[in-house]
């Protein structure tokens, strides 16, 4: 009997809606206000520029998606182009980014809903949303994409009502821009890096490309259509927003677009937009669950993760174990609220992903010139090089604390990779070394505590207690390190 496998169920409309729905997160309509505070009326061309920068990389997604139409998106591209640890690292960041993005979207939904129902429990609501959409994802890709299509159409309709209503209002009360960029060129650059996030999520099409019908035609069309629709949508929203409410006022609002809707369409308009943004949160949650599960599935398929994660459900033809594992992690992050801290990891992961995709296009054109490419990046190699430059530009604006977090995530990725790919005994030896290092490090901290170099403001009794505990832990770590290092190779 044939093993169950992912089905090609997604047509052009559903695939395009995956791209649009994955991008329309509720948080995006909040950051528009903050960017307006940074760049003033220049926020309008910046939104267009960000869209065009994103489109550069989307062309690369389209070329690779049609040439290698397998599940996994960026991970699969880098696997073919580079293999080994680089591809594992890409998949690792892609999966983590989507796990965090799922939790963030669900929490974003809960926060937006709390404007209408202040008594709701935000973490509980977020957890329920994640579980509901995990069940929809388990039921089947077609069901997932249908839910995404319906949700996205509702959101687009609400935003269209907002834009048209606000535009009509704007005709009656024109405003005169006072300045283009209140804090100069740096403000414009900062706002560009900041607003690039608006377009993250459209690459979900690539993650689900193994389930797209007629991939040679539908993948590039869906990716480019998503990008064009998003540029048009965000630009029109920003035009009416800064036209009705001055940027400096807009930047002070918790929900800027709902505030603009309140000004232009009255309280009913504010409620309508709030509902629309809440639904957008649902769409992004739905898409991110799908994307993370497909990455885990692909990594498992290639032996980087336990084999059970690439099992496909016999009836629903979905990677049910990968969905469940991702959901467990998402629920933990959504319930603890830790996503507030790791939100930047999402951006970092996406920036790494974008760079890898552009590099993969260049590498594959060199090492596999005869690979069948139903779609080719226009103006090659300028387009992927410009995409890489855009990623480097964005990375310049990443906060140092985010880089530290990224470094730590790379260390964990290294551990996971070697645990899976290297033999048991060698891993044990490695952990023996790690334990010895930890023991020495903790002994050094104990020395600093004992000499009053740190914890100077802490009472002496507490210092003694901490010192004793550190010495105990240090000894345990050193003994554990020696025992692991001396373990026999069986």
């Amino acid at each position: 009997m044939d093993e169950p496998h992912l089905k090609r169920d997604l047509g052009l409309v559903r695939t395009t809606m995956l791209g649009i729905g994955g991008t329309l997160s509720a948080a995006n309509f909040v950051i528009i206000g903050e960017a307006a505070g940074m760049a003033g009326y220049a926020v309008v061309p910046i939104v267009v520029i960000c869209g065009l920068l994103s489109l550069l990389t989307m062309f690369s997604y389209a070329e690779l998606g049609t040439a290698i139409p397998l599940a996994g998106g960026e991970y699969t591209f880098s696997k073919v182009a580079y293999g080994g640890f680089p591809s594992f690292l890409t998949g690792w960041f892609e999966w983590l980014s989507n796990v965090f993005y799922t939790a963030l979207s669900a929490i974003g939904f809960a926060y937006v809903v709390s404007y209408l129902f202040p008594e709701i429990n935000i973490p509980l609501t977020a957890v329920v949303v994640v579980i509901v959409f995990a069940i929809i994802n388990l039921r089947g890709t077609k069901e997932t994409a249908t839910a995404e299509t319906i949700i996205t159409i509702i959101v687009l309709a609400i935003l269209a009502v907002f834009v048209v209503g606000a535009w009509v209002f704007l005709q009656g009360t024109p405003t005169t821009p006072e300045s283009v960029a209140p804090i100069g060129i740096f403000g414009i650059f900062a706002a560009t890096a900041y607003l690039f996030e608006l377009y993250l999520g459209a690459e979900a099409v690539a993650a689900a490309q193994a389930e797209v019908k007629n991939p040679g035609r539908n993948i590039p069309l869906a990716i480019i259509l998503s990008a064009v629709v998003l540029i048009a949508l965000y630009t029109s929203v920003v035009v009416v927003a800064v036209g009705i409410v001055p940027p400096e006022v807009l930047s002070e609002q918790a929900s800027p677009i709902a505030f603009v809707a309140g000004q232009a369409l009255g309280p009913a308009g504010a409620v309508l937009v709030t509902v629309g943004l809440a639904i957008a949160g649902l769409a992004a949650t739905n898409e991110a669950i799908m994307a993370q599960s497909r990455v885990l599935y692909a990594m498992s398929r290639d032996g980087y993760m336990p084999k059970v994660l690439c099992k496909v459900h016999k009836r629903f033809c979905t990677p049910h174990f990968a969905i469940m594992v991702g959901t467990i992690f998402t629920v933990i992050f959504a319930a603890t609220g830790l996503v507030d801290f790791v939100v930047y990891a999402v951006n970092l992961g996406f920036i790494i992903g974008f760079s890898i995709v552009n590099l993969s296009v260049i590498k594959l054109r060199k090492i596999a010139p005869h690979l069948k490419r139903p779609f080719k990046v226009p103006l090659y190699p300028l387009t992927p090089i410009a995409g890489i430059a855009a990623s480097i530009f964005l990375a310049l604006f990443i906060e140092p604390s985010v880089l530290i977090l990224g470094f730590e995530l790379i260390i964990v990725a290294l551990l996971v990779y070697y645990i899976k790919m290297v033999g048991y005994h060698r891993i044990r030896i490695a952990f023996g070394g790690v334990s010895l290092g930890l023991g020495a490090f903790i002994a050094y901290i104990a020395y600093l505590v004992g000499t009053n170099a740190i914890l100077q403001s802490v009472p002496q009794e507490a210092v003694t207690l901490v010192l004793g505990f550190l010495l105990f832990v240090s000894i345990i770590q050193i003994i554990a390190g020696i025992l692991n290092l001396l373990a026999a190779d069986r």
């Binding site: 603890t336 952990f431 334990s435 802490v458 345990i476 554990a480 692991n484």
Partner: protein, 72 residues
Amino acid sequence: MNPKTTLSKIVGVTQTAVGGVTMLFAFFIFYNIFDIQTTLGFAEEAVGLYLWTFIILGLLSVISGLFLVYEP
């Protein structure tokens, strides 16, 4: 059970427990339970760094401890 195996099990369980306590401590710091940030003089802006540092150190300890506990 020979003495080396017994020692491995004891040290493994202790190291796993220390790792678990370290990760728990990370959450105590993050959520400032018992006003621990003030007690230990941790700067508020560095709390995220402490959180991840303790979680990763705790995780390493747990994995290393489990190697000793489940030694073949």
